[in-house]
């Protein structure tokens, strides 16, 4: 047994995000000490598991957090805490690709000697097969992330026969893979960094593998998975670290992930030292207690996300822009923040792009004194707008998810709408259903509450996805433009901004900021707040690092 070398409790020097970022920067200095932290078992808990283990299929942040150290793509986000986590680094590719042909051709040279956890070496065949597999397994982002690859159209139409001929070209001898796009895509590397583009062994069946683990190249591998009970993750015996940034060797030997119980139980278990971390957010009820009783164990991190309430611009009364604006003026964002656990956990916003996100410029139109930030609701203005619209007395139903926060917001909005003179009701639906239910125009949802978490750090991932004409599919359950907002002018500007991003990212970001303002002018949604992530750790966990993409980097942490 290795003697304990670290006298200090890690929690004490990891109280806030700022210090963490600082520490992440200082990390190399501690390299020697870190080896001493190798070993041990992390005990994670979550109320529920999230279905299939297949990285080409699963689209949940819970499992993406795990894929970070289970699988690799050609490129990936840097696995460090802080702002640097938004950077893309070479992963299975030896270096970032050469981009040619006006941004349409990406050439990757694969690293040599990388092995899957089944012992087999990774080759170009695996890369080609993996890209085909994204389509064959009907990956959720096949049609949205990877449809720009040459041959993707045929693959989407007939997934079983997908070849991506001309799209993915491998040179086995040289160990290179070339990807050809139909049009330049400044966000393509981000998309390749998503777990959906993980490289899997070529022989992996082209079907959703469900609960059966697929061998990966990451530092760890799944030993067993029972979605109703637990997941056991152990070190990948075939792994040797090739890039600390892309896939660091983890500290702990084993990660036991238990599913079940309640959030309250998880908090108790962590406080009682029976678990190390909970996936779910601690219940609001416990926050005050935690912030005094265990401040050292709590880590807060801003998220690239927003909570918003899409207003259906095609249904009365929200087909009148004045009503949408009125509601934006009327809501007390401060009250909403207190519903979410207070200012430490959420920041009131009145624009689409979250703070510190590419393209974000502080702006707020819907406040008592319009300017950079929100100060207070402007009820008079709101009443006046409602009066002008002549929609007073109409019925409005708010569709919320059945979690405490969403329901609370719904109840609050119902209250505000009543104040404005509407006849409002709340309808609560289970989260999984609510998300597709509110998208389908057939369900005639007027106002709903939703959240959006960035897939990758690009403004279009918010604005274009949520308010672009291409994301509006009437009558379909998959119509992420919930508001049904389609403004030709704004849509054209967004397309142009995406194109601009390929050549001049800075100019593009400036344009996105303007588009953000223009969208809010039309007010297809109520921006509510930007949430913060709360990680509650046990006292024995150290080296907390938070990545914008993967959230807490589990493999980077150690246990005493």
């Amino acid at each position: 047994m290795i003697t304990k070398l670290t006298p200090a409790r890690p929690g004490r020097w990891a109280a806030t995000v700022a210090t963490i970022a600082l520490l992440a920067g200082l990390a190399p200095g501690f390299a020697a000490a870190q080896d001493a932290h190798r070993g041990g078992t992390l005990r994670l808990v979550s109320v529920s598991s999230q279905g299939t283990l297949d990285p080409h299929v699963n689209y949940t942040s819970q499992f993406w957090q795990l894929y970070a150290f289970l699988y690799d793509g050609l490129v990936g986000f840097k696995k460090v805490g802080g702002p640097e986590s938004k950077e893309v680094v070479a992963d299975l590719a030896a270096a970032l690709p050469e981009v040619s042909n006006d941004g349409k051709t990406y050439t990757f040279t694969l690293r040599k000697g990388v092995k899957f956890s089944n012992g087999k070496e990774m080759t170009t065949d695996d890369v080609v097969a993996s890209f085909q597999r994204i389509f064959k397994v009907l990956g959720p982002t096949a049609g949205t992330f990877y449809n720009g690859i040459v041959g993707a159209d045929q693959c989407l139409a007939a997934p079983a026969d997908c070849t991506l001929a001309g799209g993915i070209v491998a040179d086995k001898a040289a160990g290179t893979v070339t990807i050809n796009l139909v049009a330049p895509d400044p966000e393509f590397l981000f998309k390749l960094s998503a777990p959906h583009a993980s490289i899997l062994p070529a022989e992996t069946t082209a079907k959703d593998n469900g609960n059966a683990p697929i061998p990966g190249t990451g530092a760890y591998m799944v030993k067993s998975y029972d979605p109703n009970n637990s997941m056991v993750i152990v070190r990948n015996p075939a792994f040797s670290e090739w890039s600390k940034d892309a896939q660091p060797e983890g500290h702990v030997d084993e990660i036991d992930y238990t599913f079940g119980g309640t959030e309250e139980a998880a908090v108790n278990a962590i406080l009682n030292g029976q678990a190390d971390w909970m996936f779910d957010q601690p219940p609001a009820d416990r926050l005050a207690e935690l912030s005094t009783a265990a401040p050292d164990q709590i880590h807060l991190a801003p998220l690239s996300a927003w909570w918003y309430a899409p207003m259906n611009v095609n249904l009365a009364p929200f087909n009148d822009v004045r009503v949408r604006q009125a509601l934006n003026y009327a809501i007390d964002r401060d009250a909403l923040v207190s519903l979410f656990g207070g200012p430490a956990l959420a920041q009131p916003v009145c624009q689409v792009l979250p703070p510190e996100f590419p393209g974000h410029v502080d702006q707020c139109q819907y406040t008592l004194d319009p300017g950079d930030s929100w100060s207070a609701p402007d009820m008079d203005k709101a009443m006046q707008l409602v009066e002008e619209s002549g929609t007073k007395g109409e019925k409005v139903t708010i569709v919320t998810e059945d979690n405490a926060a969403s329901r609370g917001i719904g109840t609050y909005l119902q209250s505000v709408l009543s104040d404005l003179g509407y006849e409002a009701a709340v309808q609560t639906i289970s989260g999984d259903i609510q998300f597709t239910y509110i998208q389908n125009t057939n369900n005639k949802v007027q106002l709903s509450i939703s959240q959006w978490y960035a897939d990758y750090p690009a403004a279009s991932n918010f604005l274009n996805v949520l308010f672009g004409c291409d994301s509006f599919h009437p009558g379909s359950d998959a119509s992420i433009n919930i508001a049904g907002f389609c403004d030709k002018g704004i849509d054209d500007r967004m397309k142009a901004a995406i194109a601009l991003g390929a050549t001049d990212p800075a100019a593009a970001d400036a344009e996105w900021a303007k588009i953000d303002g223009a969208v809010m002018e039309a007010a297809p949604a109520l921006p509510l707040f930007t949430p913060k992530q709360v990680d509650l750790l046990s006292t024995r966990v150290g080296n907390y690092a938070f990545s914008n993409q993967y959230h807490w980097l589990i493999a980077n942490a150690w246990v005493q």
Binding site: E264, P283, A284, D285, R286, L287, A288, E289, L290, S291, T292, A293, P295, I298, L300, D332, D334, A335, L336, S338, L339, G341, G342, P343, A344, L345, T397, D402, A404, R407, G408, G410, T411, Y412, Q414, S415, V416, S418, D419, A424, A425, V426, Q427, T428, I429, S430, Y437, N443, V534
Partner: protein
């Protein structure tokens, strides 16, 4: 056979006619007298009346005592305590400053039991919620009894194939665990608005839980009703009525129905108690009463989010449910003893 009846010390009126006649006492009047002479029944009945009265007076309480609208969020409300204005939603200032805790019981006119996560007055909501809980439980009881009576009587009286079909249907629903059935019905009805002619039922209406809760217990009542109907149909007085040449419809209406009525009445308080618990369970699982309406179950659910910081929010409706259900059961026990000492058992 002649039997000595040690328990009837007083003989029935002598065989010879005449004498001063006591006022005629029908079975219903007798039952009423029985209830009136039972201390348990009187006290529990009185308790129930008080509860009903309290919930009926909810608007008065909310308006004049608590001076609040229990259906409006009070997230930024303030309250005077010891001459100091403090927010109803207290933001944590210690440690990391996380969390917002609603004010606890003031034991004063305003926020007597404190506030919930929306900053609303829990005491006022408890009364309003009680109103809804009682209305739902009562209406569901009525619905259940009517359905069960119809099914039970038709099955029991018609017999033969009709009975077989209905009994099998009842058995089938019986095999569906109640909560699963109720939850699935609730989920089916959640997203829907029903329009039957001029009647418009939105999913947030109380009608939805009433129908669901009313329907799930039908088999539990229809079965014994059917049994009772069969027993009555084979009883001597129905046989006598047939022998007298009374029409079947009249036999059903005048001879069978009034005698089944006792079974149904005996079920009523027990069913009502069961319905209150069921309503609260469904609301607790968020498939019952929908916001902005409140019921004891929804308050309990709200309280679940405050269990650690403000346990009173879930304790209060829990105690309200317990007391109401206990009173109903006590009353029901006496009623059963009086009306139907043998035919209904247990639950």
């Amino acid at each position: 056979m002649t039997t000595d009846q040690p328990e009837t010390g007083s003989m029935p009126p002598a065989d010879a006619a005449g004498g001063a006649l006591p006022p005629p006492a029908g079975p219903w009047r007798r039952a009423l007298q029985g209830l009136a002479s039972s201390r348990t029944a009187v006290l529990s009945g009185l308790g129930l009346v008080l509860i009903v009265l309290a919930t009926v007076l909810a608007p008065v309480y909310a308006k004049h005592v608590a001076q609040t609208d229990p259906f409006r969020s009070g997230l930024s409300a303030k309250i005077m305590i010891d001459g100091k204005r403090s927010p109803v939603m207290e933001r944590s200032t210690e440690g990391l400053g996380l969390g917002v805790t609603p004010i606890g019981p003031t034991w004063g006119p305003k926020y007597f039991l404190g506030a919930d996560t929306q900053g609303r007055d829990v005491a006022a909501r408890l009364l309003y919620g009680g109103q809804n809980s009682l209305v739902i439980a009562g209406a569901a009881t009525l619905l259940c009894l009517v359905c069960a009576a119809v099914i039970g009587i038709v099955a029991g009286y018609a017999g033969g194939r009709v009975d077989t079909v209905l009994s099998n249907l009842i058995d089938m629903i019986w095999a569906f665990p109640v909560y699963l059935l109720a939850i699935s019905l609730s989920i089916v009805m959640l997203g829907k608005t029903f329009e039957i002619g001029p009647i418009h039922i939105s999913s947030s209406s109380l009608v939805v839980p009433i129908i669901i809760i009313g329907l799930v217990y039908v088999p539990y009542v229809a079965r014994p009703v059917r049994g009772r109907v069969i027993a009555i149909t084979n009883s001597d007085f129905v046989l006598a009525a047939r022998g007298l040449g009374i029409r079947p419809s009249r036999i059903l209406w005048r001879h069978i129905l009034p005698n089944v009525a006792t079974t149904l009445i005996v079920f009523a308080p027990m069913l009502m108690a069961l319905n209150i618990v069921t309503e609260s369970s469904l609301s607790f699982l968020s498939v019952g009463v929908q916001a902005p309406n409140a019921s004891w179950g929804t308050i309990l659910q709200d309280g679940q989010a405050l269990l650690y910081s403000r346990p009173v929010v879930s304790m209060a409706p829990g105690i309200a449910i317990m007391v109401t259900v206990m009173l109903l059961n006590l009353f029901g026990d006496v009623l059963r003893d009086i009306l139907d000492p043998k035919s209904v058992r247990g639950r």
